[in-house]
């Protein structure tokens, strides 16, 4: 059910947001946390990102390698542990986006896989 009355605006004077949901209008402030939030985007399943900050120790794959879901693709050392990172999909490795010894932050892109 699409309802084109649904919209959100910001009042230029008061900076209040004006939200219209199914004809009901709300005037509201937002919180600092809300303002700073990251917009949600559908995660790309072929992108392996660091789930924890750490150091890349080893890659088990190179570009063009065929991987299966659950295959070990790299070791990310974090919290004094050699964490084994597994491929989330079946596919072909398109790009290695980090190097051995590199310190990565949480969320950094490590490997791109084209899923089959």
């Amino acid at each position: 059910m699409s309802n084109n009355r649904n919209h959100i605006l910001q009042d230029p004077d008061t900076h209040l947001y004006i939200i219209n949901i199914d004809g009901d209008v709300y005037h509201t402030n937002t919180t600092e946390k809300f303002e700073r939030r990251k917009f949600w985007n559908n995660p790309n399943t072929g992108e392996i990102r660091a789930q924890i900050a750490g150091t890349i120790r080893q890659f088990f794959v190179a570009p063009e390698a065929i991987v299966k879901r659950g295959d070990k693709v790299l070791i990310l050392e974090a919290m004094k542990m050699h964490n084994e990172i597994l491929s989330p999909v079946d596919g072909i490795v398109k790009e290695i986006c980090a190097s051995i010894g590199q310190n990565v932050a949480k969320g950094d892109l490590l490997i791109k896989i084209e899923s089959k």
Partner: protein, 513 residues
């Protein structure tokens, strides 16, 4: 009794048992779903289901609702047995007005809930509903409120299971959220407060229903679901399996079964790698300890850095909490603390002894964790363990550092018995970090700082990275060989059977949630 009155009863029942009618039932089947009664029968023991309130009529008076015929008002309720144990159950019938919740519908549910509580038997609720019946106005909302209130009252008294087999949106989601275990099925379950439409409008985020609140999302990301299945059949098998492990109510203990040895392939001596930086699957340790290596894992996909679930040791149910080095090095973080804390409280409420297996580097550092509230979420685990009065047995397998050591049911939180394996390292932090701090000036002023650093790390390792310092203070009852673990734990459990622990008078504590 006259023949005609029997015939009349049969006629009446036949009409009502058809639910929303042939077409609606066919539609239900096409979407891969069973009907409400089929679901109940699949869960309960054969021929044990007894349905009540079949003749209840809908209560709506406005918007021509009084002219509509809604069999059973869209919900099926009754009693039966699972594995011979009594149970109360209800299932919303999507074929009748989309399983929408009106006054009479809610009344049927609250009635069976009241039965469950007064009889002291578990309650299973099967959710498949479009939401509140808008035509009934505030009475629909009242219905939800009455259900939530009973969920809360019954919490910790009887086990409550919610099975999401269709949509469960808006306010309806809070009944499952208040219960102990939530079951979801891939491509069938949907739970969210607001749908994709409003989210798109207000926040500009484009998301489909499945990604927003499908089974996988709740099993993996939100942690709302405890059991994830690929089909309704698999889901029913999980429900039956869970019910084998838990008691009917808080005054009983779960059934004992004849004891069985762990299977031979799980040998505790060679699961943990010698290198403390190498990960391993802690579930293999659990399987090497418990009867028949049979472990029922809960919330397998959510916060996998901690493993929770039920098993038996010498025939009796235990709840197991274990750090999982295979994921995120086994750290405690916001989600894993929350997951474990809730499980600990369930076990404590239902007289299930707790076994804690420790191998963790500590709490996860980082801005996102700090801002996500790792302090207050982490506190939940400390609270839950401290508060629990069931027998508590802890085995330190390898690393037990810092706050993580304390939180994982240490002696200080009143573990009854703490055992440690010979390779255990019980310390404030890892040797590298500790040496860097303690010997900062020695390292800085040395001719060869790196050499000095290594030397000091070794010194620290020798002194503190072992279980004997903690054992010397009595914080560890016994240092044991891995292969002795089951023996020590089983003995500790058997002598703790009549454990009593009194707590100071209070109405209730204020848990940090």
């Amino acid at each position: 009794m006259s023949k005609s009155s029997t015939w009349d009863l049969k006629q009446r029942m036949q009409t009502l048992l058809q639910g929303g009618g042939e077409k609606a039932v066919e539609k239900q089947k096409q979407s891969g779903k069973l009907t409400a009664r089929e679901r109940i029968i699949s869960i309960l023991d054969a021929k044990s289901f007894h349905e009540y309130d079949l003749f209840v009529e809908q209560a709506g008076k406005d918007f021509d609702m009084d002219k509509k015929f809604l069999p059973g008002d869209g919900v099926v309720t009754g009693t039966g047995t699972v594995g011979g144990h009594p149970i109360c159950i209800y299932a919303q019938d999507f074929t009748v007005a989309g399983g929408s919740l009106g006054y009479a519908h809610a009344k049927k549910i609250t009635k069976i809930m009241d039965h469950a509580l007064s009889l002291g038997v578990p309650l299973i609720g099967i959710n498949d509903s479009g939401g509140a019946r808008i035509q009934e106005g505030v009475n629909a909302l009242a219905g939800y409120g009455e259900i939530f209130f009973r969920n809360t009252t019954a919490s910790g008294v009887i086990p409550q299971l919610s099975v999401i087999l269709g949509p469960c949106a808006g306010g309806a989601v809070y009944s499952p959220a208040l219960t102990d275990f939530v079951f979801v099925v891939d491509k069938i379950s949907q739970m969210f407060i607001t749908g994709p439409e409003v989210i798109k409008t207000v926040l500009g985020e484009d998301v489909d229903k499945e990604t927003l609140g499908g089974a996988r999302t709740h099993a993996e990301i939100t942690g709302n679901a405890h059991f994830y299945a690929n089909s309704e059949e698999e889901c029913f098998a999980q429900i039956k399996k869970l019910l084998e492990f838990i008691p009917w109510n808080c005054q009983k203990k779960a059934d004992s079964l004849p004891k069985k040895s762990p299977r031979k392939e799980y040998r505790l001596d060679n699961i943990i790698p010698a290198d403390p930086a190498k990960p391993y699957d802690v579930r293999n340790i659990i399987k090497g300890m418990v009867d028949d290596s049979d472990f029922l894992e809960i919330q397998e996909l959510f916060a996998p850095n901690i493993v929770i679930g039920f098993a038996r040791i010498e025939g009796n149910t235990v709840g197991i909490v274990a750090n999982q080095p295979l994921y995120l090095a086994g750290v405690l973080d916001v989600d894993s603390s929350d997951k474990a804390a809730r499980f600990v409280r369930f076990c404590d409420a239902f007289n299930i002894p707790l076994i804690t297996l420790v191998d963790l580097p500590g709490y996860l550092p980082g801005v996102d964790q700090e801002h996500a509230g790792v302090i207050r979420h982490g506190a939940k685990l400390l609270y839950a363990y401290s508060e629990a009065t069931v027998p508590k047995i802890t085995v330190i397998l390898r690393k037990a550092y810092g706050g993580g050591y304390i939180a994982m049911c240490s002696h200080h939180l009143r573990a009854d018995f703490v055992f440690a394996w010979p390779d255990a390292q019980i310390a404030v932090m890892g040797p590298e970090g500790a040496a860097n701090i303690i010997f900062r000036s020695e390292i800085k002023n040395a001719e060869n700082p790196e050499e000095m650093r290594q030397q000091k790390i070794e010194e620290y390792k020798e002194k503190f990275a072992n279980p004997y310092v903690a054992a010397a203070y009595g914080y560890v009852e016994a240092v044991i060989e891995p292969k002795e673990t089951r023996h020590f734990v089983a003995h500790a459990l058997s002598i703790s059977k009549n454990k009593t622990q009194s707590t100071p008078y209070k109405k209730h504590g204020i848990a940090p949630f």
